[in-house]
């Protein structure tokens, strides 16, 4: 599982890789991914699969909303909260 601090960079890397063909060269933490067409609905679902694979969180359809996925900062906040919740739920060693 990736470390908490790197979620932002993982997401940024994924987005830059998929958006570079559109001429996107940088994405700030608080830039809207949706307004400018950096990512479309297909891209969102690819990003979710990517997060599920690399970070190991499970994302339900009802969680794929603009509140959780509008910016890189939103996504990090959402993923960290998911990870914290699943850590709490896990039995203590």
């Amino acid at each position: 599982m990736a470390e908490t601090g790197s979620v932002k960079e993982l997401v940024r890397k994924f987005i830059l890789e998929t958006a570079q063909i559109k001429g996107v060269k940088e994405v700030g933490d608080n830039d809207s991914l949706t307004d400018s067409g950096i990512i479309d609905s297909l891209g969102i679902f690819r990003l979710v699969s990517y997060l599920e694979e690399t970070v190991g969180v499970h994302v339900g359809d009802e969680e794929i909303t603009q509140d959780n996925f509008r910016t890189i900062a939103d996504i990090e906040r959402f993923v960290n909260a998911k990870m914290a919740a699943s850590n709490q739920a896990a039995p203590a060693h």
Partner: protein, 526 residues
């Protein structure tokens, strides 16, 4: 009976003055506000020298001002041209100069994208915000400039139903988009049919999902205004999240939804659609591409109370056929038809021997009637090729439109869509000429030959893939070519995958062999 589109507004305002006409980005305009603001805009445009038949470009993200701009332009006698705010500046500048847009209604950040030297026909810009300090060389006004013009009435206008109302640009096979001219009559023929067919009333809430340069939006806007209903423009940042979109449909109490099937497929797959929450929804219309049957069946099951209609028609004819989904028959059907002609429209298939086809036969679909476009802006050659004399009746001269779509009618008189005669495809409902993408690739200095093919895809219709032979190996990369395309064509036309080959396979006649290329396609990485 209204014969020009703005009369729909001036009629509805009499009864529904204080009702919201449009909702966008958490703002609304009442019918009175829309009528008064569009009157002011019309006077403003006249003051800038705009006369009947002049073109006004609408270049900004959807907002309540979109409707003000449309009706304001029409009231001034102008023809409006919706420009996709997300398309590359190069393509937008081409459209602006192609139809000689004299005035732009835009925002500060969009205006900055355009090089004034590339659009010398533009004499002024009106920003939909207050600030008029654009720093642009183009003479620019802020929205508050409208305040100084009369709100109570529109300028005098001599107009007839055959005057042009708007121009919609679609992908062109020769590498440049082409402008489909639509008259008031073209639009009203469709709107009159809709009003009766779907019994749109002032209690309805219509969605507007399609971009304004896409003809699906004509239904949303003008049916709403005719009925005294409310149109709700789907926010961009909600449209791509199915769960958020489903909540939005519930919250706005949408009763009539119209979109491309791919948007509905995402709602079915990931939207957690709930019939109880969406109980206000009474009609779903879809058009623009084939709805994958398995998802249509799921949609019909999830929302048993909603009537489903498949609408069909190229931009050149508005909608020309319709089919109401028959729930009793749907489970046994392999595909649904595009159906039969709308009121005041005639359609028929013509085979290779130039005969009108009968049941079960295959032919190209032709359309005649008042919904058919007068042609393409500034392109009489293309117009003559697509809008051809009706040789099946000799009583008087008239034109009919050849769609390029192959169809076959069944015993009920419903037509089925079988495919295209040419290289036009649909992806996410967008009409795309593969030739326009090939031209974009070929405009790159490193490209010697290029072929673009479509790979059928269940969720979005088609994926786009390109094969390129560079002048010299190693001089360019797939990503560089994709970035180059991004400056020439809309995002939905950029090839998802570009393979660089030493040589492209050829047919015996020396053409690029697209069939062989398509056979060798690797699965697109997801």
């Amino acid at each position: 009976m209204p014969y020009i589109l703005q009369q729909l507004l001036t009629e509805s305002v009499k009864q529904h003055a204080d009702k919201p006409a449009v909702w966008a980005r958490n703002r609304t305009l009442t019918y009175r506000e829309l009528n008064e603001r569009s009157n002011q805009l019309a006077h403003f445009l006249r003051k800038q020298g705009i006369r009947k038949g002049d073109r006004i470009g609408l270049f900004f993200p959807k907002a309540v001002e979109s409707l003000v701009a449309m009706f304001g332009a029409l009231k001034a006698g102008a023809i409006y041209v919706p420009l996709d705010p997300n398309q590359p500046a190069d393509r937008i500048s081409y459209i602006i100069t192609n139809c000689g847009i004299r005035g732009l209604i835009t925002t500060e950040d969009r205006l900055k994208l355009l090089d004034p030297a590339a659009i010398p026909c533009v004499e002024f810009a009106l920003l939909t915000q207050e600030s008029a300090n654009s720093g642009s060389q183009i003479h620019t006004f802020g929205w508050s400039a409208l305040n100084y013009f009369p709100a109570g009435h529109s300028p005098e206008l001599d107009a007839t139903t055959t005057d042009l109302a708007y121009i919609l640009y679609t992908s062109g096979s020769t590498g440049r988009p082409k402008g489909v001219m639509l008259s008031h009559q073209n639009a009203l023929t469709f709107i009159e049919w809709c009003a009766e067919m779907f019994s749109v009333t002032c209690d309805d809430h219509l969605s507007n999902h399609a971009p304004l340069h896409f003809d699906l939006s004509v239904f949303d806007v003008y049916n709403t205004i005719k009925a005294g209903a409310t149109v709700h423009m789907v926010p961009d940042d909600i449209a791509i999240f199915p769960a958020s979109l489903a909540n939005w449909i519930e919250k706005q109490q949408i009763s009539i939804w119209y979109s491309v099937p791919s948007a509905l497929v995402y709602l079915v797959l990931h939207g957690k659609l709930d019939a109880q929450k969406l109980r206000r929804l009474r009609i779903i219309l879809f058009a623009g591409e084939v709805f994958p049957q398995k998802y249509l069946k799921q949609l019909a099951q999830i929302l048993p109370h909603v009537e489903l209609y498949n609408l069909y028609g190229p931009t050149e004819t508005n909608v020309c056929t319709y089919y109401r989904v028959d729930r009793a028959r749907l489970p046994q059907m392999d595909k649904i038809p595009i159906g039969r002609a709308c009121a005041n429209t005639e359609v028929f298939g013509v085979d290779e021997k130039d005969r009108i086809i009968g049941i079960g036969e295959v032919g190209e679909l032709f359309v005649r009637g008042p919904s058919v476009t007068p042609g393409y802006w500034g392109d009489p050659e293309k117009t003559a090729k697509m809008c051809v004399p009706n040789r099946f009746q000799g009583n008087f001269e008239e034109k009919m439109y050849r769609t390029g779509d192959l169809v076959s009618p069944d015993e009920n008189g419903d037509y089925y869509f079988l495919g295209r005669r040419d290289n036009q495809i649909k992806s996410r409902g967008y009409r795309i000429e593969l030739g326009e993408i090939e031209a974009a690739l070929l405009s790159h200095a490193g490209v010697c030959e290029a072929a673009v093919i479509a790979i059928p895809d269940e969720e979005i219709g088609n994926r786009i893939m390109a094969f390129v032979m560079p002048h010299r190996t190693g001089t360019t990369t797939a990503v560089e070519l994709q970035q180059h395309c991004a400056t020439k064509v809309p995002k939905y036309m950029i090839p998802e995958q570009i393979d660089l080959l030493d040589v492209l396979p050829k047919t015996s006649t020396g053409k690029i062999d697209r069939v062989t290329l398509a056979k060798g396609v690797r699965p697109v990485a997801v």
